[in-house]
Symmetry: C2
Subunit: 435 residues, 2 copies
C-alpha cells in the first residue's frame, strides 16, 4: 500500500490532527471539526502517515501512545453505517470493540516493526524487546477469531454460505501461523540484521491484522447483522461465554428471543435481508442452498452437548483409546468398555452387578474403599495411579461421575497405556506437528 | 510339612513306584495295582519323598522328567469323587486340567528350588538358570486364577457367599505377588549365597501353589459343581474365551441351557444342593443371604457390556480425562464432551450438525478429508497426531467408530494432554506402584 491514492493535503491534515492529539487535543472535538474529511480517509493508511511523522522526528514512544486515540478518531469509518443500531453488550458490539483493540495493537506493532526495520545496530535491541512484547500480547487475538470460526460461521454455513467463511478462516489462520512463527524467532537474542528482517515480516503481519479488522467490520459483520435473527444472536451470546472476550463486558445484553442454535432451525437467506447485505456478500447469499441436515433422530439420546443413538454410544466406547469401567453410587459395576487394544485388565460380563470391592484382591480393598469414599464425599474429583502390567506402564484414573447438580452417580475407572510416551518421550515429541 | 504323618512303608512304596515310573513302567497299570494305597496318600507329600530320592542319588533331571507322570499317578486323589461326572470340555473339566499342569509345574519348581537351596557354589549357576525358566513359565498361572476371580466368584457372591472367594483371592494374590518378587530377584546374576536364599523362597512358593490346587480341587470346585446350574456354566464357558486356558481345549462342551450371567437371576443356595457341598463350605453356604441387586432399570441403555441410564452416559463423558468429538457417517458433528479440564480445543453447541471439514482451518482440510476417507474405506482404524497447544503437548487420536458388523458409524476425535508424561517421564515412572 502506498500513499499514492491519497491527496497530499489530506496527508498533511491527518499528520496535523495526529500531532494535535499528541499535544493533548480531544479526539471527539477534532472529529466534530473534521468529521467529513476523516470519514473519507481509509485508516489502513494511517500507519504510513505515522512513518512519515517518525521520519520528521516525532519519537516512536509518542506515536505508540497515540495509537489508542487514532482508533477513536476513525471509529466512524471503522463501524459502517449499517451497524450503528447494534445494542451495547450484544455479541456484535463486543466483537466490534475487540476489533478496535486489535487495530490499536496492530498499529503499535506496525510502528515498532517499521522503526526496527530501519534501526541502527545499537537501537535494534530495545526495539526488538518492544516487538517481542507486542507480538506476545497479540496471541490473544485467537480468542476473537475463535468466536467467528466456532460461533458465527456455522450460521452462515447453515444458510449455505460456505465459501466466505472458509476464505476468512484461511486468512485468520495465516495471521496466527505467522504470529506463531515470529514468536518463535524472537524467543532468543537476534543479531541486528536478523532482527531487521523479522521486523519487516512483523510489519507485514500488522497490515494483515488491520486488513482483517476492516474486512470484518465492513463486510462480514454487516452481513451477519442483516442475516441473523435475535434468537441466533442470543445463542451466540450464550456460547461465547465458553470462549470469552478480549474486552471487558460491562453491559450485558438481554435478548428477548429464545436462543436458536444452527441445528435447531432450517436457516435461509430471507428475501428482505438480501439488500441489506454488503455487495461483496450478495452473490454468495443469493445463490446459497440451505443446509437441511437433521441432527436429532428418533430414539436419540439427548446428552446436553449433542445427540447420539444407542448404537453410536456403543461404538464410541469401543473406539476410545482407553478402557472404561463404571460402578454406580451403590458400588455396583454397571458397565465396562471393550476396546480395540488388548485389555490391561480383563473384564467379563460376569462382573456386571458385582460389588466394586470384590473386583480387586483383598490387598487393595482398603485403597479402593478409601478412594471411592473420598469421591463420594466430594473431597477429591479423581485420583490417579500408575502401575505396570507385564511390560506396559498404564495409568489407572479413578474419577467421580456426577450429574449437573454435582450429585454422585458413581465411580469411573479409566485405564490407559502410557508406555510409549513414558519410555520413548523423545520419539513421541519428534512427531509433534503444528495443527 | 513333614513325613511324620506318613507311615514309612507308604513312603517306601511311593519311592518304589516313582523309581519304577522312572525306569519306564506305565503309570496306569501301577495305578490299577496300587490304586487303593495311592488314594490314601496326599500328593502334597510327594515333593518331600522326591527330596529323599535326590539324596539317595537319583539325578534331579530324572525327577523333573517324572513330574509329568506323578500327576497321572495321583489323579484319583486329585479329583474328588463328586467331580467324576464333569463332561469333557466343560469349564470345570478345563480348570481341573489346568490344575494338573500347575501342580506339575509347582512340583518341578520344588525339585529345582530344593536342589538349589542345598547346592554348592559351582552347581548354583545352572540350577538358578533352571529356576528362572520355571518361574517365568509360572507367570501364566494368572490365567487360571483370573477365571476363578472374574468368572466363578461372582456366582458365589450373588448367592451371598462372599468370604470364601475373598480368602481364596487373597491366597492367589499372595502367590502372584511372591512370584513377581522372585522373578524380579532372579533377573540378573546372583551370588551363590543369595541364589540359595531365593531358592528357599521359591520352594515355599511351590508348596503354596500346590496347596491352592488341592484347595480348589477338594473344596471350591465340588462346591461350585453342587451349586451352579448348567446355564451358569454355559455363561462361564462363553466368557472364559476372553481369558483363555492354560491347556489345549480339544473337546468343546455344548450346553443345552441358555447362558445365565450372575446379574440375570436371583441366585440362591438350593435346599437340595447343600448336602453335596463339601463340609468346609457348608456353613457359609447355609447362612448365605442372596444378593438382590437389580442391574437393569427402566430406561437403561443396553450397551452389550452393561447398562447405563442416559444421565450416567452424560456423566461418564464429563468424567473422562480426554476430550471427545464425534461426527457421523455423513461427517456431521453430533456430539462433543465437556471435560473437567480446560479444553484443548474449544467446542460450542453451535458446531452441532456442522460439517467436520468446516471445523478446521482450510490448511488442514485435505488432511482431515484424507484421514476420514481412509477410516471410511477401512484402510485404517485410527490415526494419531501429536501437537502443541500453548505449552501443552496433546495427542489427537482420530478413530473410526463402527458397529458390531464393522459398518462405519462415524469418526471420533479424542484429544488428550500428554504433557506430564512426555516432559517428566522419570517423575511419572517414580509413581509406579504394584496394583
Amino acid at each position: 500500500m502506498t500513499l499514492v491514492n491519497m491527496e497530499s493535503w489530506k496527508v498533511e491534515l491527518v499528520k496535523n490532527l495526529l500531532k494535535r492529539i499528541h499535544e493533548g487535543a480531544d479526539p471527539e472535538s477534532l472529529k466534530r471539526e473534521f468529521g467529513e474529511v476523516l470519514a473519507s480517509i481509509n485508516p489502513a493508511e494511517i500507519p504510513l502517515i505515522e512513518q512519515q511523522l517518525v521520519r520528521e522526528g516525532v519519537p516512536i514512544q509518542e506515536i505508540l501512545r497515540m495509537c489508542d486515540l487514532h482508533v477513536a478518531l476513525f471509529r466512524d469509518y471503522l463501524v459502517s453505517r449499517e451497524l450503528r443500531g447494534v445494542p451495547e453488550g450484544h455479541p456484535l458490539d463486543l466483537l466490534l470493540r475487540e476489533n478496535e483493540l486489535i487495530l490499536r495493537q496492530a498499529e503499535q506493532l506496525g510502528v515498532v516493526a517499521n522503526a526496527l526495520a530501519r534501526a541502527g545496530d545499537e537501537e535494534a535491541g530495545p526495539l526488538l524487546q518492544q516487538l517481542r512484547v507486542l507480538l506476545s500480547n497479540l496471541r490473544a487475538v485467537r480468542v476473537h477469531y475463535r468466536k467467528l470460526q466456532m460461533l458465527l460461521f456455522p450460521y452462515l454455513e447453515r444458510r449455505g454460505i460456505v465459501a466466505v467463511p472458509r476464505v476468512l478462516w484461511g486468512r485468520e489462520d495465516q495471521v496466527i501461523t505467522k504470529l506463531r512463527a515470529l514468536l518463535k524467532r524472537v524467543e532468543g537474542e537476534l543479531p541486528p540484521e536478523e532482527a531487521r528482517e523479522v521486523a519487516r515480516e512483523a510489519a507485514g503481519l500488522a497490515s494483515e491484522l488491520a486488513e482483517l479488522v476492516f474486512r470484518e467490520n465492513k463486510i462480514l459483520f454487516p452481513a451477519l447483522w442483516a442475516l441473523m435473527s435475535e434468537g441466533e444472536w442470543a445463542a451466540v451470546a450464550e456460547e461465547a461465554r465458553k470462549i470469552g472476550y478480549l474486552v471487558e463486558v460491562k453491559e450485558v445484553w438481554g435478548p428477548e428471543a429464545e436462543p436458536i442454535l444452527p441445528y435447531q432451525a432450517e436457516l435461509r437467506v430471507e428475501e428482505g435481508s438480501l439488500e441489506r447485505v454488503p455487495p461483496e456478500f450478495r452473490a454468495a447469499a443469493a445463490w446459497a442452498e440451505p443446509d437441511r441436515y437433521k441432527l436429532v433422530r428418533e430414539g436419540d439420546l439427548s446428552l446436553g452437548t449433542g445427540f447420539l443413538s444407542p448404537g453410536e454410544v456403543k461404538g464410541i466406547f469401543r473406539a476410545l483409546p482407553v478402557e472404561v469401567t463404571f460402578a454406580d453410587a451403590s458400588d455396583r459395576v454397571r458397565f465396562y468398555s471393550e476396546g480395540r487394544l488388548p485389555p490391561a485388565f480383563v473384564r467379563t460380563q460376569t462382573i456386571l452387578g458385582r460389588n466394586l470391592l470384590y473386583c480387586h484382591p483383598p490387598r487393595l480393598e482398603r485403597l479402593v474403599r478409601e478412594t471411592v469414599e473420598s469421591l463420594k464425599r466430594g473431597e477429591i474429583d479423581y485420583r490417579e495411579f500408575w502401575t505396570r502390567i507385564d511390560d506396559r506402564v498404564v495409568r489407572v484414573f479413578i474419577s467421580a461421575v456426577r450429574d449437573e447438580d454435582g450429585r454422585y452417580l458413581g465411580a469411573l475407572e479409566v485405564v490407559e497405556d502410557f508406555t510409549e510416551a513414558l519410555r520413548k518421550p523423545e520419539e513421541v515429541l519428534k512427531k509433534v506437528v503444528v495443527l
